[in-house]
Amino acid sequence: MNIHEYQAKKLLSQFKTNVPQGKVAYTPLEAKKNALLLSDKGPWVLKAQIQAGARAKGHFLDQDDQNLSGIMFIKNRKDLITVSQKMLGHTLVTPQTGPKGKLVSKIYVETFSPAKQLFYLSFVINRIEACITLLVANETDNILDLAQKESGLILKINLDLNERIKKSDVMRVLSFLNLPENLFDDLKTFLQNLYKAFICLDATMLEINPVGITKDNRFIALDAKISFDDNALFRHQDVVFMHDDYEVGENVLRASKCGFKYREFEDGNIGLIVNGDGLALAVHDYLKQMNQKTACYLNIKGGVDEDKIAQSLKIMMTNPKVEGIIINILGGFLRCDLVADGIISAVSEIGLNIPLVARFEGTNKETAKEILEKHHFNFLTADSLQEAALKLTHAMKEND
């Protein structure tokens, strides 16, 4: 689970990390009011609250203003309202949002914190070495380019699990950043508090890009991104409340109410319903070979309830991009005939005007096939992935 910057900063300040003073605003008037509460003469920073990075490199979809991005530096109080008007209620596209972008419904108003030095810092679960790794870079832009070069431009330190950062590790960071030794204690405290937050919150990623060093030598988190381990959210009810439903989208929410996983892609026109991510991937690869694209998929793993299966088909049909559906089920604990019943129940209620191919394997696959084939709707069935993909694309052409 991800949260917004303003929420992350609030959490981090509870772990004694310096963050700029800030207040979230939902309207331009509120943005101005909050800015003046924070400081009467500025400057201020207005930051679009979307859960994606590279906001400063972003642009707004329906705005001509070339200078407008997701992070705006404001000197004059008269600009507070005009600039927030251009941000709030508009769609921000950044290199990380995809071309569709994300709607900005709130902005974070901060006092501007001048810094004499900036650097990149993150803690992340290292999947290969099964540990937590600290990453530090002197540059704050084009981090991924640095990572590809692999020439020691990014410092990597694998940490122990005991919440402590060793003196020697602090020294390494200090010299990597070319900082004077009198900053050792402050750096140690800064790293220590963040690492403590990472572990106490069951984070999977905590990224501060950038960290600023102020004139009076304080380390300050100018941005903050935190991702949490979904499997550990049961330990963090306060974090669960920070979930932003808008960020995940309506269909994802509806699916999650059934305990299912729904994922949507940028393009494509075929919807997949499966009981395991692997089954979706297998079909997806087949379609790719045939120059077809997946629009979305719904994983009903763990679902053994006819009504919920019917619900899943209904969710999929609300996606206007879907022009054909493949159902790929490998029955084990979940019986194929139950899925067939679910399909019929959904279609009887809302109809079906696009082709649907079902491929069943495993428990009760013959019964399931029979149920669909006997029905008066034009359901298609297939015995292999290849057959399913071929039948669907053929039917979609005819349906055109």
């Binding site: 993150s122 679960i125 991702s227 297998a282 490998l330």
Partner: protein, 288 residues
């Protein structure tokens, strides 16, 4: 032969009395698995499905010489259950439950290593040597004893691969799901090593996915093997799609990794790469 489990494996089931555990324990016994003990603090002293139940793993190991543990305990209790098994001297642990907190898994990994044990999972269908032992939740009646070793991250694709090897007329030596969580206990390269030492295994099918770099490690290891057994790799994943924010995970892999990147590594290492899971049986047929 086979790897890790066979008819001589003495299996202990932790959390044996649960609903899912009972269902699957019954099935694996029917599949010929030598289940010698169960552990459940509530039902110690009783028998369940014909298996004696003990109050602790230590006692069970002492009385029954169990040497492998299958865990059906809920995700929240996995850490303590694995610690108990390790303390009792168990060297092979299979943990089925999904949803184990990542920090727990990191700690578990450390302890498992310190005990020189092997952990399969979490979030895995388990491990099966057809006709001999099944420590997991694989579908019934799809496995055939044979010569292909299968190792996979995705559980459903494991089953597809099993069906493909049957279609090609080979059957399986041992099938392992290493699990599809962020951190897997046992990695591809370790399993490749074991399959290469096993006489029964003539060829290996590996099913990898995007995320992490277990495939990279496996390809690098395969490249170093002198007497290579044929390796057929299928790599898949939804590209341009991630829940991750920020750059940190991409930094660890030196930039964004694509399915093609992973495929290329296997090709360079000398493996056969298939574009679709359905292609497996045709490729297998060409192997002697």
């Amino acid at each position: 032969m086979s790897i890790l489990v066979d008819k001589n494996t003495r299996v202990l089931v932790q959390g044996i009395t649960g609903l899912q555990a009972s269902f699957h324990t019954k099935r694996i016994i029917a599949m010929g698995t030598n289940v010698v003990a169960g552990v459940s603090t509530h039902s110690a002293g009783q028998t369940h499905l014909g298996v004696p139940i003990f109050g602790s793993v230590k006692e069970a190991v002492l009385k029954t010489k169990a040497n492998a543990s299958l865990l059906f305990v809920p995700a929240k209790s996995v850490k303590s259950a694995i610690n108990e098994a390790l303390d009792a001297g168990i060297k092979l642990i299979v943990s089925i439950a999904y949803g184990v907190p990542i920090l727990d898994v990191l700690e578990i990994q450390k302890t498992v290593k310190a005990h020189n044990a092997i952990l399969i999972g979490p979030n895995t269908p388990g491990i099966i040597t057809p006709g001999e032992a099944c420590l997991g939740v694989f579908p019934q009646n799809i496995h055939q004893k044979g010569t292909i070793g299968i190792v996979s991250r995705s559980s459903t694709l494991t089953y597809e691969a099993v069906l493909e090897t049957n279609r090609a007329g080979f059957g399986q030596s041992t099938v392992i799901g290493i699990g599809d969580d962020m951190i897997a206990g046992c990695h591809f390269d370790k399993v490749l090593e074991l399959f290469h030492k096993d006489d029964q295994t003539k060829a290996i099918v590996l099913i990898g996915a995007l995320g992490g770099a277990y495939e990279e490690k496996a390809a690098a290891y395969y490249q170093t093997i002198k007497n290579k057994k044929p390796l057929i790799a299928y790599i898949t994943g939804f590209e341009n799609f991630t829940d991750d924010m920020g750059y940190a995970s991409d930094i660890l892999t030196h930039g964004k990794v694509t399915v093609d990147d992973k495929k290329q590594l296997f090709k360079k290492a000398g493996a056969i790469v298939v574009e679709s899971i359905d292609d497996l049986h045709d490729v297998l047929k060409e192997i002697k």
